[in-house]
Amino acid sequence: MKNATKGTRYNMVTYAMVTAVFLVMQGLLLAGKVSNSLAGQLIPICVYVCMAISLNLVVGILGDLSLGHAGFMSVGAFTGVVVSMSLTFLPPLVRLLLAIAVGGAMAGVAGVIVGVPVLRLQGDYLAIVTLAFGEIIKNLLNNLYVGVDKKGLHFSMKDAQALRLKDGTILINGPMGAPGIDKLSTFVVGFLLVLVVLTVTLNLIHSRTGRAIMAIRDNRIAAESVGINVTKYKLMAFVTSAALAGMSGALYALNYSSILPKKFDFNTSILVLVFVVLGGMGNIRGSIIAATVLTILPEALRGLNDYRMLIYAVVLILVMLATNNPILMNNLTLLKKKLRGKGKGGASHG
């Protein structure tokens, strides 16, 4: 990716890969060849792919560990629910797109609020503060009550009675979450969102801004000394990432009939982080593949019932041990070189 043409080709292959998978899945869906469990996974896969890409922007490209990414997802999710459920007179697709857009914007605002203090810190301290913000967002949403009636939206941080609704509906009911959501999300919109997230991220990475961000990651002091405004670029990456997470959150929420704030806890943040690390830090294509495989894997292991999460844990540990084993990785590189040497001109992006 040192020269622009190679970068462009890499991008094109990534887009083509995603589109091809989408077309195949869409074809299989139309032919009715997809099992129910997999069909139900399609939108969550899109959501987690977007989440993984957006988190990779912070963890891989900016180089700051964030443990509260689910917080931004939940801001987008609940904003999306409020937007879509208070505009019921609009056609479903418009409601969905508006929900995603406003959800992303709100998460972006949350990103600014969180980012300004967080990005002053470094290393593990930064990580723990993102964790703290994630927990704070969850805790606040757990106490948020939103209702809608003819007069418009009502908000409260106390309880549902304090909304004083006149024959309206409660949209968000504190710890009970959002009870009655219209399931508006579709696989096509999910795919389009993946493309949008991908385009934003890849273009950002391969732009002047992206290079500045990566320079900060590689050596903050050196970057600062050549005149890069560290705070500005860090905040830019962080807020973009938050907004993208918010968009995927809105898509996620509108895929279910009800949703709880508890869903977006520390474990969800970690889940997405696992996608990013296993896919490779800063490797966008890796994030897509890891998110897809690891979302399907627990479902595919469903037959093993109680053992599936145990197996997931063991697989996770073993993969981390294997990929960080210098001897094993050296041999793998040698093997790759050998294979490449034999099949000259063949498929070389394996």
Partner: protein, 294 residues
């Protein structure tokens, strides 16, 4: 007035549990520079072991606590040997993900062994509550024992790290691993020992935690784990007195937030305090300020 005093005592008691857990985090961080997210789940295992010893084997509580400590110490050393030692030179994020994998592993093993239904933990302290000021102030015996345990552990650890050979080598390794090795310190043994002590303390914390809040589930350890981690960072991660101070402060803040501000928002308040402290002192209350060298 009595109410305030009672809240303060409860806060110190909860904070003592956090402090004991935070010690495990901070010692491991200080010596291996890793965030051991599986630590919270070691607490849970400790509590389950003690529960089993007391309920199924009908052993006295003291034996249960000792068994829990023994099992957790072994568990901590095994985890370190199998999962963390091969990653000594790997990037810190790889170690973090492995720790999370271990955490999933422990939680799901507990789920398989003990099932998801909450167990009711009988307090290990069977003494009657202490009544002061003619019945105006009633302090449960668990609270007193927790605070006492915390003080004993703190004194013992301070002596251990300051006076014994092993403790001194721990401090040396946490300061400079390479130099310590050149001085003839067995780094691997020292790290293993740190995990053993941290996990043994986690078992005590688990038993005390479940004696005060008697529901025991496979996820019991996660939230106290995160809170204790917060406490360790609040006090300055890597610093033993810092973990103590951070833990006790966090416990007091949590209980006061619950009593005087809002029960539901207490977690948000606790984490907000952490953020404010870190913004003023970026390395925690007692943490060492790191100089940046170009």
């Amino acid at each position: 007035m009595m109410n305030l005093l009672l809240n303060l005592i409860n806060g110190i008691s909860l904070g003592s549990v956090y402090a004991i857990i935070a010690l495990g985090y901070t010692m491991v961080y200080g010596i291996a520079k890793m965030l051991n997210f599986a630590h919270g789940d070691v607490i849970m295992v400790g509590a389950y072991i003690c529960y089993c010893a007391m309920s199924y084997l009908h052993l006295p509580p003291v034996v249960g606590v000792v068994m829990a400590m023994g099992v957790c110490t072994l568990l901590g050393m095994t985890i370190e040997r199998l999962a963390y030692k091969p990653l000594r030179s790997a990037p810190s994020l790889a170690v973090l993900i492995t720790a999370i994998g271990v955490s999933y592993f422990l939680q799901n093993s507990a789920l398989l062994i003990w099932k998801s239904d909450p167990k009711v933990f009988t307090s290990v302290v069977g003494l009657p509550p202490i009544t002061l000021f003619g019945g105006e102030l009633i302090i449960s015996s668990v609270t007193v024992v927790t605070v006492l345990a915390n003080i004993v552990i703190m004194l013992a650890l301070t002596t251990f790290t300051g006076k014994t050979k092993m403790g001194k080598s721990m401090r040396a390794v946490s300061e400079d691993k390479g130099a310590a090795q050149l001085m003839g310190i067995d780094v691997n043994k020292t790290i293993s020992m740190t995990f053993a002590i941290g996990s043994g303390l986690a078992a005590i914390a688990g038993v005390l935690l479940c004696s005060a809040y008697p529901t025991l589930m496979p996820t019991t350890g996660s939230m106290p784990g995160i809170k204790a981690f917060t406490a360790a960072v609040l006090g300055g991660i890597g610093s033993i007195p810092g973990a103590m101070l951070g833990g006790v402060l966090l416990g007091i803040i949590e209980i006061f937030a619950k009593a005087y501000i809002s029960t539901q928002l207490s977690d948000a308040i606790v984490f907000a305090v952490l953020i404010i402290v870190l913004l003023i002192r970026p390395t925690g209350l007692l943490g060492k300020q790191i100089r940046e060298k170009v």
